[in-house]
């Protein structure tokens, strides 16, 4: 029963990200439905597929939407249950800006996620941030459909500490 439920949630997540052809960080392979139900809840793969590892942002903004906050609430719960994990939060921007500004914007987005997770009880020393600006797009078309997915902060969990 628990396994069935997890699988259904995964299907929902996958349909949201069906256009994504590459996951960041630990999430590679998570968009393969045949494997989705096999993840143990205390794995990074489960975190990507079932909790949701990323939140999206409006153009040139770093404020968290209510949708983003609900995903981050689930991330905070997962991190609370899996104390051996730490998280590196990657901030990203779309290509509609200059490189240096987008590095700063990505830093802002990563920091907004970090601050929210801390406010939800995650210890500060388990979280670190990095900005990639516009240097690591996951979607490659030059329309809002792709840009909206590239304006993201991705929480990459791993056992131990992140540098």
């Amino acid at each position: 029963m628990n396994i069935r439920l997890a699988a259904l949630i995964i299907m929902g997540v996958l349909s949201l990200s069906a256009c994504s052809n590459r996951f960041d960080g630990m999430g590679a392979g998570a968009n393969d439905p045949s494997k989705a139900g096999n993840y143990q809840p205390n794995t990074p793969e489960y975190f990507v597929a079932s909790v949701g590892d990323r939140v999206l942002f409006a153009v040139d903004q770093s404020t968290l939407s209510s949708e983003a906050m609900s995903i981050l609430d689930k991330q905070a719960d997962w991190l609370a249950q899996n104390g051996e994990f730490s998280a590196l939060i990657e901030g990203h921007a779309d290509e509609q800006g200059t490189r240096e500004y987008n590095l700063a914007l990505g830093a802002r987005r990563a920091s907004a996620v970090q601050a929210y997770l801390v406010s939800r009880g995650v210890a500060d020393n388990r979280l670190s941030t990095v900005t990639y600006g516009k240097e690591r797009p996951i979607e490659i078309c030059s329309t809002e459909e792709c840009w909206s997915k590239n304006r993201r902060a991705v929480t990459v969990v791993q056992v131990g500490t992140t540098s």
């Binding site: 052809n21 590459r22 040139d60 770093s62 290509e95 509609q96 800006g97 200059t98 490189r99 240096e100 500004y101 590095l103 700063a104 914007l105 830093a107 802002r108 987005r109 990563a110 920091s111 907004a112 970090q114 601050a115 941030t129 990095v130 900005t131 990639y132 240097e135 690591r136 797009p137 996951i138 979607e139 490659i140 078309c141 030059s142 540098s163």
Partner: protein, 444 residues
């Protein structure tokens, strides 16, 4: 390289040094092309193949001549009268010039030269410049000497001397560009630092592509390159010494650092530091490593660039809500906004002449490279495309190089140059994709 500049030994010419070249360009000859911001008619010149002084110098003489011609025509302000139209050639550098032959093909300037190859791997290049209609020499003859590996530099020096005598401004051909060489698909781009001559020749990689690198910036003495590397997993400013090829992180202090730039005397480095999501501008004393914070607003402050006298800094900030350009004292403090047009402005770079700021402008989904005066007046957009970004100045402040990326899933950057008049847009050849160019000063 040690290019030796010395006099030609004809009776008329006395000892020539770099200093006398400057004198020669001050003494205004009758032939002078004024570079204005309007449309200009390129000045027609002839450069018959330089005379080889021995049989084994023939190929070198032809190569050097073609680089001189490519430099001058590539500037957009000179037009070559092609050799097929020439009535006579120059087989002996010291023979009298038949000015009527050059006047007949409408060459206003005539460049003659000779190339000698010595047994020890050294070559020497001599040249003279003539005003065809006045039937007189423009300035002294010059001779450059160096190793045969540096033959392109000697050609660039000839072209710089011609450019300088005919425009009254210094040239920009004997210079190099450091940039990011990119390869691979758009969602898995690999980036490395690369160095080449301003015209794309002598390309070589400076780093491998195992770590993401961004935005290299030459030191003013041309010996070092500042850049941002993800070597440690996070963006940090690194320094690369071009002589030793050794690279090291500028410091090991916490925080993400990027957008570095040397001061005009190379003794101070400006950079951006991101801490807790807030990005501000700091200066770092190269000798002591001491950091000073120059801005402290909660907004984004980045992309700093010094004025040529080192007393002011132009930078971008979104403190007023969107990305705009500001100027402050080199010590920080109050800043005045200089960009007021529609859209967003970033990546400001102060011109070597000190009178203009070049920038990237984003407006209504289009990117432009443009220039404005220090008070924001006379804004002129020189380019427009899906993505034009990151201008860098030629040594003489006449040309900007930048990168342009096309839209879509195969979007990739290429280097371009454009005259500050907006004319002469040219793609700069690179073996892979190219972005983030930084143009050196004239080589010593």
């Amino acid at each position: 390289m040690r290019t030796i500049l010395r006099s030609l030994f004809t009776g008329v010419l006395s000892a020539v040094s770099l200093a006398t070249v400057a004198v020669a360009q001050d003494a205004k000859g009758p032939l002078r092309i004024e570079i204005t911001e309007g449309v200009i008619e390129p000045l027609p010149f002839a450069a018959p193949t330089f005379a080889p002084e021995s049989a084994q110098a023939a190929e070198m003489a032809a190569n050097i001549t073609s680089v001189v011609v490519a430099d001058l025509t590539g500037s957009g302000i000179f037009r070559e009268i092609p050799p097929s139209a020439h009535i006579s050639g120059i087989t002996n550098f010291d023979s009298p010039i038949q000015f009527s032959d050059w006047k007949a093909v409408n060459a206003q300037a005539l460049i003659t030269g000779a190339v000698a190859v010595q047994g020890n791997g050294q070559i020497s290049v001599k040249f003279r410049l003539f005003d065809v209609f006045a039937q007189s020499a423009l300035g002294d003859g010059l001779q450059f000497q160096g190793t045969s590996n540096d033959w392109r530099r000697m050609a660039h020096k000839v072209a710089d001397a011609v450019y300088s005598r005919l425009t009254g401004e210094s040239g920009y051909f004997d210079s190099r560009v450091v940039f990011v060489s990119e390869s691979g698909p758009k969602n898995a781009r690999r980036k490395r630092l690369a160095l080449m001559d301003y015209d794309g020749a002598n390309y070589r990689n400076l780093t491998d592509d195992h770590a993401l690198v961004l935005a290299p910036r030459f030191s003013n003495d041309g010996r070092q390159v500042l850049y941002t590397s993800y070597e440690t997993g996070k963006p940090k400013v690194f320094v690369l010494d071009l002589a030793t090829m050794r690279q090291h992180a500028l410091d090991d202090l916490p925080g993400m650092t990027f957008s570095p730039r040397f001061s005009p005397d190379d003794r101070t480095i400006l950079l951006s530091l991101s801490d807790g999501g807030n990005t501000d501008i700091y200066s770092v004393d190269v000798a002591t490593g001491q950091r000073s914070r120059l801005t402290s607003a909660p907004s984004i402050e980045t992309a700093p660039s010094y004025s040529p006298d080192g007393r002011q800094i132009v930078f971008e900030s979104d403190r007023a809500g969107t990305q705009q350009l500001y100027i402050m004292a080199a010590s920080g403090g109050e800043a005045r906004r200089i960009s007021f047009g529609a859209g967003r402005y970033g990546t400001p770079v102060w011109s070597p002449r000190g009178d203009l700021v070049a920038f990237t402008k984003i407006n209504q989904g289009r990117f432009h490279v443009g220039v404005m005066r220090l008070d924001g007046s006379d804004e002129r957009l020189l380019t427009a495309s899906f993505l034009d970004e990151g201008p860098t100045w030629s040594p003489n402040g006449r040309v900007l190089m930048f990168f342009r990326q096309n839209a879509g899933s195969d979007g990739a950057p290429s280097l371009y140059s454009v005259d500050i008049s907006g004319r002469n847009l040219r793609k700069v050849p690179t073996p892979e994709f190219g972005s983030d160019p930084s143009w050196s000063g004239l080589l010593k």
